[in-house]
């Protein structure tokens, strides 16, 4: 079992993977409770535009993914709060729009290759030292923000209007939450991939919700499920040469099914 840690790339992948599991599950709890699960899918596709620009123009794709995902998150919040548009419709429009733009950029730049494939589905082989530093720095900031504002995010998720009338800066915090989610998603695509990160964000919380316990216990359960899935997924991915993102998501799905069965009314 420990032999996989003899490889440096696995040490890097595990370090990054664990941080991503923590980030995805903590932010995912607020996203799911706000009934905003689809935003993770949309932002992941927007991040792909950043990756495409990075690959074609020769910038660091991860940095570009962070920038484009944040811009997209702000656009979503702006459209949602300033126009009479349904939230899910805004998310659907931006999801397909982003994918279309990413595909066009990549085809024009002739970068449709294995490198892009690894961003779509995640690859533990692909995590570089530079990625580790980027993920630790941005991930650290994102986690601090989530923890500092957790009581506000929880209140807003419970009842946005009541939170607003009691003096919580709802609009500002909504922008902050989507920005943090955008950063986390962009950082996660190295290991989990754009097409699968949404699952890692949403499923651990939905599985934890089946146990019908208070907020703290739900958050801790969600964290535990995300960490177990990440560890099992990466281990299986290493030994069976499977794409890491898909393996991680299958592990979290198994936990979800067990949670459903164990808590059946």
């Amino acid at each position: 079992m420990m032999e996989m840690f003899e490889y440096e790339f696995m040490q890097r992948a595990f370090l990054v993977g664990m941080l991503i599991a923590v980030l995805a599950s903590v932010s995912g709890t607020f996203v799911v409770l706000k009934r905003y699960s689809m935003i993770s899918e949309t932002l992941a596709h927007s991040a792909l535009v950043g990756v495409a620009v990075g690959l074609v123009a020769g910038f660091n794709p991860l940095w570009m993914a962070v920038v484009v995902a944040i811009l997209s998150a702000w656009l979503i919040e702006y459209l949602r709060s300033s126009f009479a548009l349904y939230s899910d419709a805004v998310l659907a429009i931006l999801l397909s729009g982003s994918l279309a733009i990413a595909v066009i950029i990549v085809s024009l730049g002739g970068a449709f290759n294995n490198s892009l494939f690894s961003y779509l589905f995640g690859s533990i082989l692909a995590v570089s030292d530079e990625d580790v530093i980027t993920i630790l720095v941005f991930g650290g900031i994102a986690l601090s923000l989530l923890l500092v504002f957790s009581k506000e995010f929880y209140f807003i998720a419970y009842d946005e209007e009541v939170a607003k009338t009691s003096g919580v800066k709802v609009k500002l915090l909504n922008f902050l939450l989507v920005s943090v989610v955008a950063i986390i998603i962009a950082l996660s695509i190295r290991v989990v991939g754009t097409l699968l990160i949404g699952a890692l964000m949403v499923i651990p919380t939905v599985a934890a919700l089946q146990f019908r316990v208070g907020f703290l216990h739900t958050s801790l359960l969600s964290l535990l499920f995300a960490i177990i899935s990440m560890a099992c997924g990466m281990t299986l991915s290493f030994y069976f040469s499977l794409p890491s993102g898909a393996t991680i998501v299958l592990c979290v799905l198994i936990i979800f099914v067990f949670s459903l069965i164990a808590n059946k009314k």
């Binding site: 409770l33 500092v148 504002f149 009581k151 506000e152 929880y154 209140f155 419970y158 009842d159 209007e161 009541v162 939170a163 607003k164 009338t165 009691s166 003096g167 919580v168 934890a208 919700l209 019908r212 316990v213 208070g214 907020f215 216990h217 739900t218």
Partner: protein, 256 residues
């Protein structure tokens, strides 16, 4: 009980609200003073909830001005002084991961500020609010498993946890049984008399609380303010307000 008629908590002048050419509220002026107990009644769609939403800054009036504690709404910052219990309070999402204690603690969020840790004062305020609402025994229960009446008390405890000077309740009895409703009115009256909390209460159930309330506002696009609620609701008034032929049913509880 002494009501301070000097500085109004809410000072509303010539308030109008027009949506897509339709007058929801027109030219409403009213004042709400410290330690008052006010009931707001009126037909569905008459603008009661809209008025409350504007008082709380959730909707902007088309014309007119609202002052809170002497300050313009846009300059007002001390929102913890106002406790709000919305219409859907007792119809909470069954699956939301929250114990009664989790919900009541939300009442301290804005008063605590962003970086401060939970203090003894916060814990005491939460405990005190739960004690007043008689829900200390429910603190670890999931809100989804509580009855309508219990949930309603949790929501009011949340509003009380910030130690508000005014409590605004928008028909909080939706989905609550009759016995719980009666206890609820007793509680509101007690909060008003003993704690001197100003209460503004939207209701359809005017007969039950007529003894306790100080003033009655009837809202149907315009406002009719009545200083003696016991005499106010004649058949003529009811017909005028609701636009139907009304018959007064006497509430025997008040007859001697």
């Amino acid at each position: 009980m002494s009501i301070d008629f000097k500085v109004p908590i809410f000072d509303v002048k010539n308030l109008s609200f027009i949506v897509r050419g339709q007058n929801i509220l027109s030219d409403i002026s009213l004042e709400i003073f410290n330690a008052e107990y006010i009931a707001i009644i009126g037909p569905n769609g008459g603008g009661k909830t809209t008025l409350i939403r504007m008082l709380l800054g959730l909707d902007k009036p088309t014309t007119g001005e609202i002052k809170l504690f002497g300050k313009k709404l846009s300059d007002f910052k001390e929102w913890h002084k106002i406790g709000f219990v919305p219409q859907r309070a007792s119809l909470v999402d069954q699956n939301f991961p929250a114990t009664a204690l989790d919900i009541v603690k939300m009442g301290r969020v804005s008063k605590r500020g962003v970086f401060s840790k939970e203090t003894q004062e916060d814990r005491d305020a939460v405990k005190d609010a739960m004690f007043k609402m008689d829900i200390l025994n429910l603190k670890d229960k999931m809100v989804g498993t509580l009855s309508g009446g219990q949930r309603q008390r949790v929501m009011i405890a949340r509003a009380l946890a910030s130690k508000p000077e005014i409590l605004i309740l928008d028909e909080p009895n939706t989905g609550v049984d009759m016995v719980s409703q009666k206890n609820f009115y007793t509680l509101l009256s007690k909060l008003n008399k003993e704690e001197k909390i100003t209460i503004v209460f939207i209701t359809h159930d005017i007969g039950v609380i007529a003894d306790d309330i100080g003033r009655l506002f009837t809202i149907n696009q315009k406002a009719i303010i009545c200083n003696d609620p016991k005499k106010a609701m004649s058949c003529e008034d009811m017909s005028k307000l609701y636009g139907i032929d009304a018959h007064l049913i006497h509430n025997h509880r008040h007859e001697h």
